[in-house]
């Protein structure tokens, strides 16, 4: 093992960090919005709408993310005639995929809220949307947030898949450096250290957040 051979490539690999965060943060924001919508589809009192929400989730959880990414990047242009950039494909695939997972997190969080809260607000004549927004969601939030942080961590790790469509993220850059210098172990190990460090930081932040939420329970 000789890390001195990749010293001059380290800045190049590190430039993948903001690229990764761009994919992760944008996908997370769209994924959360989408997750809220799909979760709502699953809980409204209408069987057909429920089915649409569940079907969406089943498809995106039931197939490999790398396949979804490939279909969006390589397959869809054949149908639409519109070619998306690697970055666009990555964000679309990750948003749609995380939307499915996040919708499950939100649904479970909402359904964990005490049934009495629905009944009390029903009895006061509070309309459904306000009920959800002011009574149920603020309470569901505490159940949702820790799971959401976990999903963000998963998303960060899985983001390495975007290298397969040519996004210049950490993973892809490590492979390029490996190819150029014909040594793979060192750049890939270095990429691994970057991912591990980022995930550890996110895990730590998530734990602190959880602790603070638990404290506010006792107010």
């Amino acid at each position: 093992m000789d890390f001195s051979r990749i010293y001059d490539s380290i800045p190049y690999i590190l430039e993948g960090i903001p690229v990764m965060f761009q994919v992760v943060i944008v996908s997370a924001l769209i994924g959360i919005s989408l997750g809220i919508v799909v979760a709502t589809l699953k809980i409204v009192p209408n069987r057909l709408i429920n089915f649409i929400g569940h079907a969406y989730t089943a498809v995106f959880r039931g197939t490999p993310l790398i396949l979804q990414l490939a279909i969006i990047h390589f397959g869809l242009p054949q149908l639409t005639g519109y070619i998306t950039t690697p970055y666009q494909s990555a964000v679309i695939a990750f948003s749609l995929n995380s939307g499915a997972y996040i919708s499950e997190i939100i649904r479970a969080g909402i359904q964990a809220v005490d049934k009495g809260q629905w009944e009390a607000s029903d009895a006061l004549g509070v309309p459904y949307v306000k009920q959800l927004r002011s009574i149920i969601l603020p309470q569901a939030f505490k159940n949702i947030l820790p799971a959401l942080v976990n999903e963000m961590i998963t998303l960060t790790k899985e983001s390495a898949l975007v290298s397969t469509v040519g996004v210049l993220d950490i993973m892809r850059r490590a492979q390029i450096v490996g190819g150029q210098k014909a040594i793979y172990f060192e750049p890939l190990l270095f990429a691994g250290v970057i991912y591990f460090t980022i995930v550890m930081i996110l895990t730590y932040l998530g734990q602190r957040l959880e602790k603070r939420l638990r404290k506010s329970d006792g107010r």
Binding site: E119, D122, G125
Partner: protein, 240 residues
């Protein structure tokens, strides 16, 4: 005024209410008693459609809630409900619990809602708890806030679903006292309760339900001391 006609409720194969008909007059205080599983809570919950009756009709102040397409949410604004488990909103202060629905449902101004809340908290003896959160209150205090929350909508009818059953014994009276005070103001009240003392003292009429049937009704003094049906006799022997 509440009119109930031939009310039936089924949960799957289980028939919980088997045709209940009764009328509750304006200003009347009605206690609903009966063994557990008799359907008394279900009966109460049908009055504001928290349970949808299988058949039969419920009208409150001339508005038929059971009619298809009836604006139930609108009707509920006029029907306050107090639950066994309080069901206060835990993420809101006492003040917000009291003002949320008036502001967001009735669209009264914030100042008006605040005034109402202050008056009601004074009435239930909890003025100093206005900024507290539900988790900081005792069970009795929670239930008094819950009563105030329902009253903040200025309803014509108040429903109580075993309001003291989840309370420690020493807190029962503070809640019953608030309810007595409310009865004296002429509020129409339907109270599902195990508190026979309250039924005897405060109620104008007692309904005895058993196995989903309204077995017997009458003035508390008559029904509680001199029940006509065997079932009522047996039940009262056990609880009195």
């Amino acid at each position: 005024m509440i009119e109930v006609k031939d009310l039936h409720k089924q949960f799957g194969d289980l028939e919980v209410l088997k045709g209940i008909t009764t009328t509750i007059e304006r200003g009347e205080v009605v206690a609903v008693i009966g063994p557990s599983g008799s359907g008394k809570s279900t009966f109460l919950r049908c009055l504001n459609m928290l349970e949808i009756p299988t058949s039969g009709t419920v009208s409150v102040d001339g508005f038929e809630l059971t009619k298809k397409g009836a604006n139930v949410a609108k009707a509920r604004q006029n029907i306050g409900m107090v639950f066994q488990q309080f069901n206060l909103f835990p993420h809101m202060s006492v003040l917000d619990n009291l003002t949320y629905a008036p502001i967001n449902v009735l669209k009264v101004s914030k100042t008006e809602a605040l005034e109402r809340a202050k008056k009601l908290l004074e009435r239930v003896g909890l003025s100093e708890k206005i900024d507290a959160y539900p988790s900081q209150l005792s069970g009795g205090q929670k239930q008094r806030v819950a009563i105030a929350r329902a009253l903040a909508m200025e309803p014509n009818v108040m429903l109580f679903d075993e309001p003291t059953s989840a309370l420690d014994p020493e807190m029962v009276n503070e809640v019953l006292d608030v309810m007595k005070g409310l009865a004296e103001t002429g509020m129409t009240m339907v109270v599902v309760t195990h508190e026979m003392g309250f039924a005897r003292e405060v109620a104008d009429r007692v309904l005895f339900l058993d196995e989903g049937i309204l077995m017997e009704e009458g003035k508390p003094a008559d029904l509680l001391l001199n029940p006509q049906t065997d079932r009522a006799k047996r039940f009262l022997e056990k609880v009195l």
